[in-house]
């Protein structure tokens, strides 16, 4: 069984802050991490490897620095890693990103592709389903649990108020929820292997069989026209008083607003 896991290096958005004076994003010192949903997807793949002896390949598209998250994946137990990196890929929206990744994946053997449900820097949840569409295979998103049965994958798919248990014929793509498991840690031996024994294969533009019109900014149907820091509204009154006085103050406000 051959599994491909797509992973993205993302800024830890819980560490991102807004400069209160300039109203701009402070990115300095914000650590880069493996996107949490992707990490859960990798863990799911590694568990299938433990159970069934699968071969796990990780793939990422991004700048050279994304090497770090691919090494981390290798140190956790992935067998092979590919990094798609080229100025021609940059500025891609979800459509162009998925068409690039799908073209690269098309060069590899796979029975199962796993992506995270969404990345914490974009939150779009689009790249997984779009990769599946480009490859002409089924996808099941919001995967909470999975198992392989013969030539099918059976998934517990989460909805707002229910789960569906559904199956798809392999090859298929699933998108993993971060809640699906607790990813393992890298082992010291794993880290050693990731840097000394295993390699991250770099694929640039010419190694990915995809049309110029389907990659990078040029291949992106959408364009960002502007970004604004989020405007917070004017703060209201803040009081610091004892418990009794605080309660009275809130009561007065609730009456003033006709809530009581």
């Amino acid at each position: 069984m051959k599994i491909i896991v797509c992973i993205k290096q993302v800024p830890d958005t819980t560490e991102v802050r807004i400069d209160p004076v300039k109203g701009t994003l402070i990115r300095e010192g914000v650590p880069s991490i493996m996107n949490p949903d992707d990490k859960a997807g990798l863990e799911a793949a590694l568990r299938l490897k433990d159970e069934l002896g699968a071969h796990v390949t990780v793939i990422s598209m991004g700048p050279r620095q994304a090497d770090t998250v691919l090494r981390e994946a290798l140190a956790m137990g992935a067998d092979a890693a590919y990094l798609l990196t080229d100025p021609a890929f940059s500025g891609a929206d979800t459509w162009a990103t998925s068409s690039t990744l799908a073209a690269a994946i098309g060069k590899l053997d796979y029975d199962l592709i796993i992506t995270g449900r969404q990345a914490i820097d974009g939150d779009t949840a689009q790249v997984g389903p779009e990769i599946a569409e480009h490859l002409g295979i089924p996808h099941i998103s919001y995967c909470r649990d999975l198992k392989i049965e013969g030539d099918e994958i059976v998934v517990k798919r989460q909805f707002e108020d229910r789960y569906q248990i559904l199956s798809a014929k392999l090859p298929a793509l699933i998108t993993a929820l971060g809640e699906m498991n607790h990813p393992r840690y890298m082992t010291p031996g794993g880290i050693f292997d990731a840097y000394r024994e295993k390699e991250v294969v770099i694929w640039s533009r010419n190694e990915v069989p995809v049309a110029d019109g389907n990659i990078g900014l040029k291949g992106s149907p959408t364009r960002v026209v502007k970004t604004n820091p989020k405007m917070l509204k004017q703060p209201g009154t803040v009081i610091e008083a004892g418990v009794e006085e605080s309660v009275q103050y809130v009561m007065a406000k609730l009456k003033e607003k006709y809530i009581l």
Binding site: E130, G136, D161, K253
Partner: protein, 335 residues
Amino acid sequence: MSIKEKAVFVFADQVDNQITPVSFELIGKARDLAEQLGSEVVALLLGFQVADLTNELIAYGAQKVILADHAELEHYRTEPYTQVVAQVIEKYQPEIVLFGATSIGRDLAPRVAGRVHTGLTADCTSLEIEEGTDRFLMTRPAFGGNLLATIVCPDHRPAMATVRPGVMIKREPDESAIGEVINFDGLITENNMFTIIHDVLKRGLSKHDIQDARIIVSGGRGMKNAEGFAMLKELADVLGGEVGSSRAAVDAGWEDKSKQVGQTGKTVRPNLYIACGISGAIQHLAGMEESDLIIAINNDPTAPIFHVADVGIVGDALKIVPKLTEAIRSERAQL
């Protein structure tokens, strides 16, 4: 039957033959957009034995409904739904297609965008037609809600967007409104991408959706433990509201994920939002800052929640909440 040029299509999300509220919110917004474009709003309803629901869509403002009523569409599955939506887009060439950012919309829309080769903007919080240029501007939070990005889709049609539930405002339903129903006449073809549903398990969540609540009492890490968090239920009960939660309290296991407010939870805009022991990470603020009246109780005077609060109380929520509950209860008793 024809559809006007530059029409705005809305995918009518339905589960168990009930339209999801976000669909009505989108129809409301789509009417504004269509008016500016000199066109009309068409709802796209897929399901099995759902013809009755077309009236509701028309009452909320859809001028036409395309109805695909088919046994294969009874329960949501990606491939047959994608086939229908993609065929409808090919046939009628709408200008814009909107989906709710639900677990159906967020699954279906990218698959459709991939198939018809167009752009898709996720989880929009604002949609407008730019004066003068008629560009369709789609605005969404990025970087965990720290930035707002405005996105356009210049050369591909339709422009597609998913929109967060609870953000757009639905119109008052007009039961006398008249609209046309057009039956989908395409084909659904079984292929390798069809999935099989074996079972459906209800998640056993409370029926009370925080997005419908007029009053929400929400708690975070500052409630310290499950017992502390339980105080919020009493306050919510005496106010006739619902309990909400920050991500920290969900991660701690004090409240279910369905009650989470924020970027990765739900967007709410109740009349009253009481934030107890919530510091106010930007991701949380993104989900509640549109509430009419925000009261925040937190012992850290520098907590960002105070930037959006109308009323900020610096103090220990564990002490203040029970006293407040008591005060409201005795106030109610006097009435």
